[in-house]
Symmetry: C2
Subunit: 209 residues, 2 copies
């Protein structure tokens, strides 16, 4: 018994693994409590660390949140690109979607919803932060303001082939996704997110293809 957990059950993980662990634990806790309700103590406990040990990795509580959001963006970009069959080199660039032939708003939304349905925790993270960050002094305020603007722009481009007023359709698609996700999170037993979205897509985009 010499190799693993050799000092009081506190594993001394290599840097990258420790970082991933911190991001995972934080994601879960922020989804539950929001940023104002998050305590560094809880995160540290969840990682088997002390608070100063945790701060060594992330600098500050604000820094922790930023790290989580950046990590999620990277993951989501990769997943979406993979689902839509894009080439891996530049996965993080949402904007590229709008210029990819054969990809329209309907397909992108369907892909997003299907991915989201498999990870309620992440959806909840964004739902909570989206509301909390309306406050101008919230550490993620600018991040979410940019995100909404960028999402609406890309969705508008994607909606252009589908209707006369793509901006309005983009707005409605975003609103519907956000709203259905909240209902699903509150009553997961009653609601199937994919079914609810497919019905909504029929309303938004017209009957199937």
């Amino acid at each position: 018994m010499s190799s693993a957990t050799n000092r009081r059950d506190r594993a001394r993980l290599p840097g990258p693994e420790r970082r991933r662990q911190i991001l995972d634990v934080t994601t879960r806790l922020v989804a539950e409590r929001g940023f104002w309700g998050l305590s560094m103590q809880d995160v540290a406990d969840g990682c088997g660390l002390t608070v100063p040990g945790l701060l060594h990795h992330v600098g500050s509580k604000d820094g922790l949140l930023v790290a989580v959001l950046e990590h999620r963006d990277a993951e989501d970009g990769r997943s979406l690109a993979a689902q839509l069959g894009l080439r891996p080199p530049e996965p993080a660039d949402w904007t590229a979607l709008a210029r990819t032939p054969g990809v329209d708003l309907r397909r992108v939304c369907a892909a997003l919803v299907r991915r989201n349905a498999t990870q309620p925790e992440i959806v909840r993270l964004f739902a909570v932060l989206e509301a909390e960050s309306l406050a101008p002094d919230h550490p993620a305020h600018d991040y979410f303001a940019d995100r909404q603007a960028k999402t609406l722009d890309v969705f508008t481009e994607l909606a252009r082939p589908l209707c006369d007023d793509p901006r309005t359709l983009a707005r409605q698609a975003v609103a519907m996704m956000d709203g259905l996700q909240i209902q699903w999170l509150r009553a997961p037993a009653e609601t199937d997110l994919v079914d609810a979205w497919d019905a909504a897509a029929a309303t938004l985009f017209g009957r199937p293809r």
Copy 2:
């Protein structure tokens, strides 16, 4: 200078006025910070009270939140009843709407949106708490679970005359309202809530009347 503010600028308000002041200040602060981010000290300061003075009125921090939510429900019930021309005696009973001739989901949503557009602060209060209260141990968790269930039921009844699948339409109407409100709160300059809703109503319910 004997009647008002006679002791260190701290007005000794009569009970009901003080209560209203507390609820107003709390509403504003919860809308900004959520419940986890709310501090009794800030509420007390905003009322010109000490913290124990504040606690005398509301009992506890949880009690304060409950008081705010109950107060809002009462006000909203009154307003909606007035806008739809119902008799005042029983304004708080949402359920009655479903049995009122000439009232359907389209009209009720239009009335709700038009009222909400005049009070962004209240809309934000609900948006923030709706997300925060997804956590099972949040003091408003049960309140919002009930609220969502009840709203969906009433909306379903109201949608019955309009389509074949009223439950689905009800879900979509709720989702769309919630989602458009978030977008409006984040970028009030770019979005007019009433316009956005009227466009969405055309999508959801079909072209005008």
